[in-house]
Amino acid sequence: MVGIVSYGIYIPRYRLDRKQAFQSIGWLNPSTAAYAKGEKAVANYDEDSITMATEACMNCIRDRDQSHIEGLYFASTTMPYKERQNSVIIATALNLPEDIRTADFSSGLRSATTALLNSIDTVKAGSSKDILICSSDERLGKMGTTDEMLFGDAACALLIGSEDVIAEFKGSYSLSLDFVDYHRGSISRYERSWEERWIRDEGLNKIIPSTIRGLLNRFNLRIENFSKILISLPFPMPPKRMAKIIKTDPEVLEDTMITQIGYTGSPHPLLMLVKALEDSRPGDRLLLLSIGNGSDAMIFEVKDKIRDLRKDMDFKRFLKRKTSLSYEKYTVFKSLAQADLGLRAEEDIWTRWSFMWRNRKTILGLVGSRCKVCHTPQYPPQHVCVNPDCGAIDQMEEYPFSYRRGRIFNYTADMLAASIDPPAIHGQIDFEGGGRYWFDFTDCALDELRVGMRVRMSFRKKYYDEKRDIYGYFWKAVPEKEG
């Protein structure tokens, strides 16, 4: 039996209120009023598709035996690097073994389901035990567009394997069509989309039913055989209308979550799948359908093992954990408007690849060392033990910190440091089990902080070197409100 073994999602903390966005920019394109409802999830300025996917992966494999993971696939249309495999960066951040297969699936909004189908085939073929797949996007619409209103940022990860399966893969059907609803050339930052009525009438209304028809015919099933139907629509559509098109009961159609988080691009079908799995019972049969230059339709059957899977960071938690972001700040976070960060921000940061290679575990993986004599964890890794009563030399073993919780030892809010979101908040963290280091804090405000408050570690974009087009990554502390 091959299927989903575990899942993890990630929804960034910020929400843009669409009504507020419309009040700010609606004058440019009054027709966007039709979408000025609800909110969309927005990545923080230090997040991108790599960091959000890493978060989702951590939520997927935290507290699990990771020794069976033999591959990591990453799907996104907004990968930071065109050349330098993005999935390898994620695998290194996750501190996965180096003898695994990694791959980037890109350039189509179906890329996540394509990665999913490929991972299932790889496991089925016996080439790998478990494969971790993840997907994330942060697509940009130009200011004042429908795309800007609708697109949200998020990530999802699934662990695919053949043991402890919670949702078995039962089959798929794909259509590959050069139907260009959205496109971005290799040098464009912004989305360009064709007329919405054409996308709907000539695209969705025809491609969706014919994909479903193909799937049902291939497996000799009827639409009534499904307890939940998940269609990853790029814009809101009344369930009744879609139900009529695919000839089903509107009750079985799952919500697209566009009003809550927006249309998140590649990861969207996976997020809908996880949302459905969170309230599924053993025996439920799900139909998942992704759209993007064609369509992938897949069948999953929920298994008994789903009862054993508990996730702290579920949809409920992520949807509750939110902070509103003004449209003005949104334009700065997304570099839609050029904000002045002062001369201090002009400092040159050199990324020295030979150095990065030697220190990849320390920097990308947050791996420190622990003294085998006195058991003191330390970061960054040391040769001579930092415990003054020990001082053992070269008695260290690797010690990863990324999944460890810590407590705020001290903190401040720096108005002088150049930051897109001043003040720059940072402080020393004491890790549970030992070890101390000084980190940037993110996703928090000064007035919420207290000495002793709990933090978790989050992989973030540390800098962008504009001159050399290099994204630098490291870990930040995210304070967690108790209870």
């Binding site: 002062g342 001369l343 201090r344 400092e347 040159d348 940061i349 050199w350 990324t351 020295r352 150095f355 990065m356 220190n359 320390t362 920097i363 003191t376 330390q378 970061y379 960054p380 040391q382 930092v386 415990n387 003054p388 030892f409 001290n410 903190y411 401040t412 809010a413 720096d414 108005m415 002088l416 440091a417 150049a418 930051s419 003040p423 720059a424 940072h426 402080g427 020393q428 004491d430 030992g434 070890g435 101390r436 280091y437 000084w438 980190f439 940037d440 000064l446 000495v451 002793g452 540390k462 630098g472 490291f474």
Partner: protein, 398 residues
């Protein structure tokens, strides 16, 4: 058993530029300005200097590397010149080099000169970047100096359970006192009296440190010529001797080991203990007459009162509010205005502190002159509370 350098070195002369935003001069001009006063005070010929130590931290802003900026500016005739750099403690480090050279008997007369020309960066605060290891650059948080010291304030409040407003008031008193002293000093950068309200209402720089909790950034240079006590006595009536000169450098414990409680500065406690031993001081609160502390931020001065054993742990606030460190207090501190009013041209600061103590001991300080001081201490701190370098010097009248 090593016996230290107590009473083995005398200061023959000192010089110090006016500190400030010296838009009018280059770094080399500052070197010359400090040197000319120093050599005149020493009363010797430039050619009698046998060796020199040059202190400069931000070499990338103006001077460049090596000891050459000092030797070529003064046209020192092919004598040994050494550049030292030890973060913000660089000035005292240059002085230490010169003193050790004389104490060892290697040279009779040595020069220490520190300078920094910072105000060519185009922005407020210290120059950023380029001064950390490659690993640190990749993993350090996005911080500036005031934030590094604000962390000390967070811990101090947390350890002693002090409300932010009480700590802020004590820190305000520190800055008001230094401004009152700096007002009397023609060489200070900031010569303006301020009130506690000014401090408390100032904009925040790095919570809980506001604008007046932070020292200025300025250009300046200071110099000392040192020699043996015998030579000094043969040339001068009143002699200032080096009683102790100690430095302590972090082992990395504060940053990575969880035992340090973050409310004080470990290197200062180590350096002070050793300096008192070297100088033979048993009770610093009773024996010292003047303090020049590294008040880069008001919280640093507050914690240092305890770290050098003047105020009991957790009790500095009481001494501060009692006026213990004011110009008319028991042990006046920052009688020249401190870093608060002089600003902090890194390489010069340690020597600028020594310049004030030296002049106080010789009774040359005019309006701010203390009554008959015999023993003074300078404290020059580099780095941040979690990773620091601390130099402590004790000077005494012969």
């Amino acid at each position: 058993m090593a016996e230290g350098i107590r009473d083995k070195v005398a200061i023959l002369g000192m010089g110090c530029t006016r500190f400030g935003e010296r838009w009018d001069v280059n770094g080399e001009d500052l070197i010359l300005e400090a040197f000319l006063e120093c050599i005149e005070d020493a009363g010797i010929d430039r050619k009698e200097i046998q060796a020199a130590w040059w202190g400069c931290h931000f070499d990338q802003v103006n001077f460049g590397k090596a000891a050459v900026p000092l030797s070529t500016t003064l046209k020192l005739p092919f004598i040994p010149v050494t550049r030292v750099e030890n973060w913000c403690a660089t000035g005292t480090e240059a002085f230490r080099g010169a003193c050790y050279a004389v104490a060892s008997g290697a040279y009779d007369i040595a020069l220490a000169l520190g300078a920094e020309k910072l105000k060519d960066t185009g922005y407020a605060g210290l120059p950023g970047g380029g001064n950390v290891s490659q690993l640190t650059a990749m993993i350090k948080p996005n911080y500036t100096a005031p934030a590094g010291f604000a962390l000390l304030a967070t811990r101090y409040m947390s350890k002693y359970n002090i409300p932010a407003k009480d700590l802020k008031r004590a820190m305000a008193h520190i800055s008001v006192k230094s401004h009152a002293n700096g007002f009397l000093n023609p060489k200070a950068h900031l010569r303006r009296k301020i009130t506690e309200e000014d401090v408390l209402n100032a904009p925040m720089v790095a919570w809980p440190l506001g604008l007046y909790d932070c020292c200025g950034v300025s250009d300046g240079a200071a110099a000392a010529i040192v020699t043996t006590p015998e030579i000094a006595r043969s040339l001068k009536k009143d002699i200032v001797l080096v009683k102790a000169l100690q430095i302590s450098v972090t082992s990395g414990e504060e940053a990575a080991y969880t035992k340090w409680d973050g409310s004080y500065i470990m290197t200062t406690t180590h350096a002070a203990k050793k300096a008192y031993e070297e100088a033979g001081i048993k009770d610093p609160r009773e024996e010292l007459d003047i303090l020049e502390l590294h008040d880069c931020f008001s919280i640093t001065e507050l914690s240092t009162y305890e770290d050098i054993g003047i105020s009991p742990r957790g009790k500095a606030i009481k001494d501060i509010l009692d006026g213990f460190f004011d110009l008319d207090g028991k042990i006046p501190c920052q009688t020249d205005g401190g870093l608060k009013c002089f600003g902090h041209p890194i390489g010069a600061s340690g020597l600028r502190m020594l310049y004030e103590v030296y002049n106080q001991l010789l009774g040359r300080c005019g309006e701010r002159q203390l009554k008959d001081p015999r023993l003074g201490l300078t404290h020059n701190l580099g780095g941040l509370p979690s990773a620091s370098v601390c130099s402590i010097a004790i000077l005494g009248r012969d």
